[in-house]
């Protein structure tokens, strides 16, 4: 009887551990930052921060950067902001309110990984981010974010 209870407890604990370990969101799988294949460069999280706050507006060759966000409050967007901006993510609304006062606007938004993938694959100056599971050979992966085993340029 006691052994049976212990077995059940062990199974329950195993189930909880498996549920905990099972990837359920974009952040669990990691994100990839993508650019057009012609722009085969590696980037840092600091670079991303500058691009997506439009503090850095030009690539090193002088071409204008087109940063592409995903729709606000989606899992991918939330994961991206947490990974790139950390605690500062909470101050982004104030930042963009102040930039609006100067006539500067947040990056354009697209509403799915597929849309970002298609856009970046056809725009030489674009940069976006998608769930790792959505990437294909039409774009260059400039940085991996999130999952520890695949992080790094």
């Amino acid at each position: 009887m006691v052994q049976s209870i212990r077995s059940r407890a062990s199974l329950a604990a195993l189930a909880v551990m498996l549920a905990w370990a099972t990837p359920t969101s974009a952040e669990d799988h990691g994100l990839v930052v993508i650019t057009h294949p012609s722009r085969a460069t590696s980037l840092s999280a600091g670079d991303l921060r500058r691009f997506f706050m439009k503090q850095r507006r030009f690539w090193s060759d002088g071409s204008p950067v087109i940063a592409v966000n995903q729709t606000a409050a989606t899992p991918v967007r939330t994961a991206f902001e947490r990974l790139v901006f950390g605690h500062d993510a909470a101050s982004l609304p104030a930042y963009w309110n102040q930039r609006y006062f100067e006539g500067l606007f947040p990056p354009i938004t697209l509403d799915s990984d597929e849309a970002v993938l298609r856009y970046v694959a056809t725009k030489a100056n674009a940069i976006g981010y998608i769930d790792t599971r959505s990437v294909d050979g039409s774009v260059h992966v400039a940085l991996r974010l999130g999952a520890p085993e695949i992080a790094g340029p």
């Binding site: 600091g46 921060r49 500058r50 503090q55 850095r56 507006r57 030009f58 002088g62 204008p64 729709t71 606000a72 605690h87 500062d88 909470a90 101050s91 982004l92 609304p93 104030a94 963009w96 309110n97 102040q98 609006y100 006062f101 100067e102 006539g103 500067l104 606007f105 947040p106 938004t109």
Partner: protein
């Protein structure tokens, strides 16, 4: 230093309170600010107004989709033109004075980006459009129409941009984001408006550099023409030159230094300023110091420290201490404490209420109740 007691007005309880506190005023203010800073961090957005990204109006047209997003303006298709603005209605009830309701600013903003390297910006502000007080007096005795900003930016690179036209004077932090919906309080610190002209006409060179873990921005400017100002009492400097350097750390803090030299009637005055901003979750700490040294009675200096705490998604608390020394026998120094709160009934609108405590009567920092409703559209 003049004694606050010599300036007391009998029967003013707030001043009595101040007199009792004496030299403890600064300690009290710092303690209040520390209380705000010490409150545990919550993940709430840190901004007086809270705006979304989704348009509430969208219509296809021959020039692309015309969309309107509150606080992000009306985007006119693919033309690169965006039109928006802000408005502010304020109530002031200074101690011992009648209350006054004032529609104090209505600004239209227009941005035009025809090319990636070219940016035009225009701000037209109708100030003091209407006021009414508790005696029933109503009208527009002080209204004026002012071109706050009108400039063109040419971006040669991230490191080098040139701005030509009328622009906000880059001294400190408050002046360059002075729109009421973006500020935590109704009343403005004295140090952010007295020692320098709010805007200049001329040319500015500015840019950014990207050291590891931070951002350095600089600006150098020269004023050689008068702004288009509708206020007859505004007397711009004959000539100004200045510079600003700012470092923003990715950890959420930022420091800046400003310098401005302005000539009026062949008298050059030099202003130096230091400022800081620190964001930690729902807490924002901001402070500015400025000192202007000139000939005769022109010298003056001031400092403020302000903390805002985002209580919930709709409410915040704010506290500020300010000291200002006019270096003028007829206008001695003043110490103020402002305590207030804000409420956001809808994302693009903020209601603010505050009480300003001052250790003496001053036209520049009126003790009493102040409130406002502001919107960014």
């Amino acid at each position: 230093m003049a004694s606050p007691q010599s300036l007391q007005t009998p029967g003013r309880p707030v001043e009595t309170l101040f007199q009792g506190l004496g030299g403890r005023t600064l300690a009290l203010a710092l303690a209040a600010i520390c209380v705000f800073v010490a409150v545990p961090v919550a993940a709430e957005p840190l901004s007086p107004v809270q705006l979304g990204e989704a348009p509430i109006f969208e219509r296809p047209s021959a020039i692309g989709d015309i969309t309107y997003t509150p606080g992000r303006g009306l985007r006119v298709g693919n033309t690169g033109l965006t039109i928006g603005g802000f408005a502010n209605l304020a109530v002031g009830w200074p101690e011992g004075e009648p209350w006054e309701l004032e529609f104090d600013s209505f600004s239209l903003l227009a941005a035009y980006d025809p090319l990636p390297r070219l940016h035009y910006f225009f701000e037209l502000n109708y100030k003091d459009a209407f006021e009414v007080n508790d005696r029933g007096d109503a009208g527009s005795p002080d209204d004026s129409l002012t071109v706050e900003r009108l400039y063109a930016d040419v971006a040669f690179s991230d490191h080098l941009n040139v701005r030509t036209g009328i622009f906000l004077t880059p001294v400190g932090r408050w002046n360059v984001i002075h729109a009421p919906p973006l500020q935590w309080t109704t009343e403005q610190p004295v140090v952010t408006e007295l020692p320098f002209d709010p805007n200049l006409s001329g040319v500015m060179v500015f840019g950014s550099f990207f050291p590891e873990g931070g951002l350095v921005t600089y600006s150098v400017y020269d004023q050689f023409a008068d702004p288009i100002e509708g206020d007859p009492e505004f007397e711009p400097a004959d000539h100004s030159v200045g510079a600003r350097l700012e470092y923003d750390d990715d950890a959420g803090w930022s420091v800046g230094a400003s310098y401005l030299a302005a000539r009026r009637d062949n008298d050059w005055r030099h202003l130096g300023g230091l400022d800081l901003l620190w964001n930690l979750g729902p807490v924002e700490l901001m402070g500015e110091f400025a000192i202007e040294d000139g000939q005769g009675d022109a010298s003056q200096w001031g400092v403020y420290l302000q903390s805002a705490y985002q209580l919930t998604n709709r409410t915040y608390l704010v506290g500020r201490f300010e000291h200002y020394d006019f270096q003028d026998p007829e206008e001695p120094e003043v110490n103020t404490i402002t305590l207030g709160l804000g409420f956001r009934p809808i994302p693009a609108v903020v209601l603010k209420a505050e009480y300003l405590i001052a250790d003496r009567r001053s036209e520049e920092a009126e003790a009493g109740f102040h409130a406002s409703i502001a919107t960014l559209f």
